[in-house]
């Protein structure tokens, strides 16, 4: 009886994996998560999350620490068994089709280390031997800037180098889907940019990338689409630009005028939604070609704008607005406060 039940259960899983989604898989989703729920005791880590990642897409899971991002990807790669919901990776169930999923999915986990006394080259050769069509070790370590480190013990690597090795191990099996959890945490800005270039290169070769991050800049730079997760729930899912556009106000230009001018000079412009003064500085909020419009209008009135700063981290603002609403509505009631919060946090580059 037990065996029959198992087989029947497998049947329904295979039917939905094979029967329904396989014929359409040519352009179908690489990752499909529907109504995922995962609890740890009383804590609901992931609550009814549904999303779909197209093949070749770079998809970002963005949210504060403890939002449920890592739990979501851990369920997706089969490390954890969901309490409810379905997950398909190129049509495969990560629990029922474990072996196949592991062949096609490369994973970089948060907080996973290697034995201290193994050399970089040995670790790469080890993981390389796990896969049928692995990548070339030399190419990979070259791309990740680890070429000179091949003979070094793991324990001698810096945090950034360990992180890059971890990314290399995620890519060494030539995966069809790469899941990268906090890929650039602990990297310095230069190394982070190199890692981004690498990821764009990997995507160019047709790999679908699921990126977990809490760096706004990273999501804006890399992701085709972003899912905002907060308190285990999906708060928003859109392109970075689309998310930014959802926030009222759009872009912000801040400058020091060479001479006084009346606000209506700028508020008359279709691009401008509001003008604020902050000391001698002027802060203009608006949409479209805001900088050009503002500077041209000022120039026509004989005013020069100095020290121009464009706040481009709109995703950040969207994030604060969307998750802030969720957490407490009162805090972000004033738009002025919000803009300055967004600017400050974007300078740090992270939302801790």
């Amino acid at each position: 009886m037990g065996v029959t039940e198992t087989l029947v259960t497998r049947t329904s899983q295979q039917d939905s994996a094979g029967g329904a989604s396989r014929p359409s898989r040519a352009g179908g989703p690489a990752v499909e998560i529907a109504h995922l729920r995962k609890t740890y005791g009383a804590l609901v880590a992931v609550d009814d999350v549904s999303l779909s990642v197209a093949e070749g897409e770079i998809f970002g899971l963005l949210g504060p620490n403890g939002a449920g991002k890592s739990t979501t990807v851990e369920c997706a790669i089969g490390l954890r068994v969901p309490d409810a919901g379905t997950i398909r990776l190129l049509g495969l169930d990560p629990q029922a089709d474990r072996d196949r999923v592991h062949e096609i999915v490369g994973v970089q986990l948060q907080a996973s280390a290697m034995p201290a006394k193994l050399r970089v080259g040995e670790i790469l050769d080890l993981y390389r031997s796990f896969y049928r069509q692995p990548a070339d070790v030399s190419d990979l370590i070259e791309a990740l800037g680890l070429a000179g480190k091949r003979g070094d013990y793991y324990k001698t690597l810096s945090g950034g180098q360990r992180q890059r090795l971890s990314v290399a191990l995620a890519l060494i099996g030539r995966p069809k889907i790469a899941v990268l959890d906090e890929m650039t945490t602990g990297l310095d800005p230069a190394a982070r940019r190199e890692a981004w270039d690498l990821i764009e290169g990997v995507r160019a070769s047709g790999v679908t990338i699921l990126l977990v991050t809490h760096f706004m800049e990273e999501a804006e730079r890399l992701c085709d689409r972003v899912a905002l997760v907060d308190n285990g729930r999906l708060v928003a899912l859109d392109t970075p630009a689309g998310l930014a556009a959802r926030t009222r106000g759009g872009k912000t230009v801040r400058f020091l005028p060479s001479a006084p001018f009346a606000d209506r000079l700028l508020t008359a412009l279709p691009e401008v939604t509001r003008v604020d003064r902050s000391g001698r500085h002027v802060v203009v909020t608006g949409t479209g070609e805001l900088v050009n419009a503002v500077i041209l209008a000022l120039a026509a009135a004989g005013v020069t704008a100095r020290d121009v700063q464009l706040d481009s981290s709109n995703l950040e603002e969207a994030f604060v607005r969307l998750t802030g609403k969720h957490a407490s509505t009162a805090t972000h009631a004033s738009t002025g406060t919000q803009t300055s919060t967004g600017t400050q946090t974007s300078k740090q580059g992270a939302l801790a």
Binding site: L7, V8, L90, E103, V107, L109, M114, K117, F130
Partner: protein
């Protein structure tokens, strides 16, 4: 029944371009073993405890004049003869209680086992590779102790080689099962280290390290017969001096292997 017939013709293989496990996978276990061997060599605590230390003790005991006297209490043998199996099991116990569990617990702490669960290679391969490597070191230790004892110090050659091979095999199986249970229950490598050391000394006491079994009072001997190292010494001593060992110590060791192996399997956590 209908559902079952539908289930059968849906093998997931052909329509997906996912490759079947092939030649690369076959070399993977070799790579895992190779890396465990490298780590054992680079952190030679196991080699020191499993081979060097028992051999050094053997040489010291071999130089003591009083250890060379033939005594009636030792069945006409010497104290040195009595210590050969004790020191052989000393090495096995070191490896089983410290050399085997500590790396496994460390891997779990570091997330190595968790990372492996996301690859086509199951993390249990690391466990198997560790056991294989430590098993080889254990065999090397036992062989070295016996060869040095016989060649350099004139101990009698094994009376039953088959009995010795069997005794050593069940000794390693029984003790490694205990070590694996330790690896399963210890949460940190520090805890594994402490538990391993604390377990080592009473087990070595019943092996006769401080008071050889021939000199133990009956009640201690009765306990010793049912401890893993007591049974191991009993079986090895018989193989060395009289002939094929009695069934009792072999069964005791096999029992430890089965019970502790089962518990280890049930309790082992991969993360």
């Amino acid at each position: 029944m209908n559902t079952l017939t539908i289930a059968r013709p849906t093998p997931l293989s052909e329509p997906l371009s996912v490759p079947r496990p092939g030649p690369a996978r076959r070399t993977a276990f070799g790579q895992v073993v190779l890396n465990e061997a490298r780590l054992t060599w680079r952190r030679p605590i196991g080699l020191i405890g499993g081979i060097a230390l028992p051999v050094v003790l053997l040489v010291i005991f071999g130089e003591l004049p009083s250890f060379k006297e033939h005594l009636a209490a030792f069945g006409g043998g010497t104290i040195f003869d009595a210590y050969v199996p004790i020191l052989a099991t000393f090495g096995v116990a070191m490896l089983a209680l410290l050399g085997l569990p500590i790396p496994l617990v460390t891997y779990r702490e570091l997330g190595v086992l968790r990372r492996l669960s996301t690859t086509p290679v199951p993390p249990s391969w690391v466990l198997a590779a560790q056991a294989a490597v430590q098993g080889c070191v254990a065999v090397a230790g036992v062989v070295t102790v016996i060869v040095v004892a016989v060649v350099a110090f004139g101990a009698s050659a094994p009376a039953s080689l088959a009995g010795l091979v069997l005794s050593v095999t069940v000794t390693i199986a029984g003790l490694f099962a205990i070590g694996l249970l330790l690896a399963a229950v210890a949460r940190t490598s520090t805890a594994a280290n402490v538990i391993g050391r604390v377990t080592f000394f009473p087990l070595m006491f019943f092996a006769g390290l401080w008071l050889p079994r021939a000199l133990m009072p009956q009640f201690l001997l009765d306990i010793s017969n049912y401890t893993p190292l007591g049974a191991a010494v009993q079986a090895m001593q018989a193989s060395m001096q009289t002939g094929f060992p009695p069934a009792a110590p072999l069964l005791v060791l096999a029992g430890y292997a089965v019970v502790f192996g089962y518990l280890a399997r049930r309790c082992f956590r991969w993360e």
